[in-house]
């Protein structure tokens, strides 16, 4: 079975368009400067609409993570065990993602990670791996 794929709509198209360029992009409020996540049509801090795009360096640290041993979606059965993590990016936002290309026993909170694009589907999906020294 196929994995769930992003569902592209007007409020999030900029993000997935960024992914197609292999860029992790976020919305920065033009009024108050808040970098928001997840995408929204209005700034949750100051309620203003105008925003500009910033490109993330793709560098961050693992805040916390879970190793899945059970496929809650059958599309992930072949990946078991796989890692779901919260990554704090240098630019501010905390994103939910997968840590890949790793031995899960080598993981720990606060380890530095870097972006790696999952090219399996039509739209590249931003995932992370332990930062190479």
């Amino acid at each position: 079975m196929e994995k769930p794929r992003p569902v592209i709509g007007p409020d999030n198209a900029f993000f997935w368009e960024g992914c197609k360029r292999r860029q992790l992009v976020f919305q920065k409020c033009k009024s108050c400067g808040h970098v928001r996540w997840p995408p929204a049509h209005v700034c949750p801090k100051c309620l203003e609409y105008d925003w500009e795009e910033i490109v993330s360096s793709g560098q961050g640290i693992i805040y916390s993570y879970v190793i899945y041993h059970f496929p809650y979606h059958p599309g992930f059965r072949e990946e078991l065990p796989y890692v779901v993590a919260l990554v704090d990016l240098m630019e501010g936002p905390r994103v939910l993602t997968n840590i890949i290309e790793c031995d899960s026993s080598a993981l720990a909170c606060d380890l530095p990670v870097e972006i790696v694009w999952d090219e399996e589907g039509e739209i590249p999906i931003p995932k992370f791996r332990l930062r190479k020294a």
Binding site: R5, V84, L96
Partner: protein, 389 residues
Amino acid sequence: MGRVAIIGVGQSAFVRSYPGGIRELAFEGFKEAILDAGIKVSDISASVVCSAPEYDKQRSPAGVIAEYLGLNPQPTFYVESLCSSSSMGLRVAYSLVKSGLHDIVAVIGFQKMSEITSAESQERMGRGADIQWESPFGTMMPAYYAMYAQAHMAKYGTTLEDLALIRVKAATYGQINEKAVYRKAVTLDMFSDPANPMSGPVASPLRVGDCCANADGSSCVIVANEEKAKIFSKKPVWILGLGSATAPVNVTGRELFTGLAVARAAAEQAYKMAGITPDKVDVAEVHDCFTIAEMMAYEDLGFAKPGEGKDLIRSKETYKEGKIPVNVDGGLLSKGHPIGATGGSQIRTIVLQLRGEAGPMQVKDPVIGLVHNIGGVGLYGNVTILGRE
């Protein structure tokens, strides 16, 4: 405006699979509560029916349950906040009574989790993930408690053995609670034996033994104004404090993963309303859907400082004879967790404790009790403080 009391409590046995439908299941907890309160069904002027609709086949279940329980033509309310639905129901009942709109209100919680198959249940819970920002990464909502566990262990040095100790305590009391779904003992050895199912990884760091038991069950709490409480009840238990809070559904919007912000906020409100500090609580029921959830509850409720919850369980201070007994009815881990019925069952346990009627689970002479009931993974938080005269 007078005080608001709980004058009757009841619950069905929590079982793996209840043979009847939701009407019959709801009736079991309701009947026990009516008999406990010593009232007639016609004395009830409104009902609040609570469940989590993801498990229900019946739409708008309040209507069919009010009909079956003989509660027509009085009004009924349907209240849902996932696993904290019936604590939220109590909050609604309190408001209805305190406002003077109703004098006696029944809060009826139920869940027939076996109504859908395990595969359907997993599929529905999977759908609970945000399809845009979570599903592409293979996440599943309850597994976020593992995210909290990992963060708590990394920050405070809480160990897997500490979490297992909470499961061992739950099983100690589940064995003596005749309404519990899981009546067997659990030992630390089971967690260190790879061949034992308890040690099997689910969402690491959580193992099978760290997770609560699904169950079918119902609960009922009868809430009354002071005048009616004095007429019907020799031992009314007063609602002293209520707190309630919400957090972002999207976990990336949360700052804290070493505790539940909703529990801290709800506890602060409830303590303030009751005019007490955490050290005044004599017995507590906390939402131990996973072992880590009880550990965080110790800290979020102020029974221990952040990071020191592990000391409470290591020294057995949350056992029946300890400084602050917690979940001495088996908790969600052993008693079972029929979502919509859980809060009402926790309230029942505390009411029985305060009345000195908890049988083999009775704590010595408690005056003030607390219920901590969480919906979702820290999405909805309810804290209720109860006291006897």
